[in-house]
């Protein structure tokens, strides 16, 4: 697989770059969001920082990662009808989409939580955002392992 990577056509490189860059931004945003929410201890500024890290960094990163992933999969011929996809790609797609759904739910829940903070109410919903974004971060660590190690 690694030798294959070394000789992959040049036309695959740019979509792969966008895919990896998006994934790195996504993971960075999640790490920041999780850290800020975990260490906020009720401080409104840090709760908001955690939420906005997810919204303004992770979400754009996810879009770039997913679009780049679809592009590179198409270039490599995995999206053609009748072509069986390898296990590592199935894991990657599954976790990318599942993680995206979890992030979306965490953003909706967190958005309501931030709105409630403005009204002086508790930060319980942002704790749910913390749990969901931690799960998404763990899922993407597994996805990176699968995409890089390419288990059969």
């Amino acid at each position: 697989m690694t030798v294959l990577a070394a000789i992959r056509p040049d036309s695959w490189n740019f979509p792969l770059f966008l895919h990896v860059l998006g994934a790195m931004i996504l993971v960075g945003g999640l790490l920041t969001g999780v850290s800020s929410l975990a260490f906020a201890r009720g401080d409104v500024r840090f709760l908001r920082l955690g939420y906005w890290s997810l919204l303004a960094v992770s979400l754009p990163g996810w879009i770039l990662m997913r679009a780049g992933g679809e592009w590179i999969a198409s270039r490599e011929g995995w999206t053609k009808e009748g072509v069986p996809s390898p296990t590592w790609l199935d894991i990657g797609f599954l976790l990318a989409d599942l993680g995206g759904l979890i992030i979306l739910i965490s953003l909706i829940v967190g958005g309501v939580g931030v709105y409630r903070l403005r009204a002086g109410k508790g930060s319980g919903l942002l704790k749910a955002t913390l749990v969901l974004s931690t799960i998404a971060l763990a899922a993407y660590v597994v996805a990176v392992w699968a995409m890089a190690g390419k288990p059969n």
Binding site: T2, V3, L31, L49, V141, V144, G149
Partner: protein, 159 residues
């Protein structure tokens, strides 16, 4: 998965850890520009530690596993131009990163001094330190070098 496949996966995970740390520090750089009290500056310390750990794990993991893979895998050699370029870029990024850390630690140190002296309110000098332009410049340069490193790893010029 072979042993080398595992090492490659850990090498890539290390790269993700490194860039995740860089992204985390960008978010903190933006956030700290509005912070002018010792208490809130100090409250950032646990998040800074997470970023430091991510960069440290990423930095050590990428270089050690990358060098191992350069020797272990057929088709790669440590003297390949793109690998030498990666080693140089890794060292430059680390140097810029250290300078970024030093610039922002001035604000943290000042905040701790103020808190120890019982001066808990807003402080213009602390705000100026938290808005360090040299820190922003160093982090921008580190980020650009890491971007070049990523391009080098993916495009492998000359391979």
């Amino acid at each position: 998965m072979s042993f080398n496949d595992w090492l490659l996966a850990l090498h890539v995970l290390s790269a993700f850890s490194y860039v995740a740390g860089i992204v985390l520090f960008w978010i903190l750089i933006v956030a700290v520009r509005k912070i002018d009290t010792p208490e809130e500056t100090i409250r950032m310390e646990p998040i800074v530690k997470v970023g430091n750990a991510a960069v440290a794990i990423g930095g050590v993991g990428t270089i050690l596993l990358g060098i191992w893979l350069a020797f272990a895998l057929d088709g790669y050699a440590i003297w390949d131009g793109w690998i030498i370029a990666a080693l140089i870029l890794w060292a430059i990024a680390g140097a810029f990163g250290q300078r970024t850390g030093a610039a922002y630690m001035q604000g943290m140190t000042k905040a701790k001094e103020l808190e120890a002296g019982g001066q808990g309110g807003t402080n213009a000098e602390l705000l100026a330190l938290n808005r360090t332009s040299s820190g922003v410049l160093m982090h921008t340069l580190a980020s650009l070098v890491i971007l070049l490193l990523l391009l080098d790893m993916i495009f492998k010029p000359g391979a």
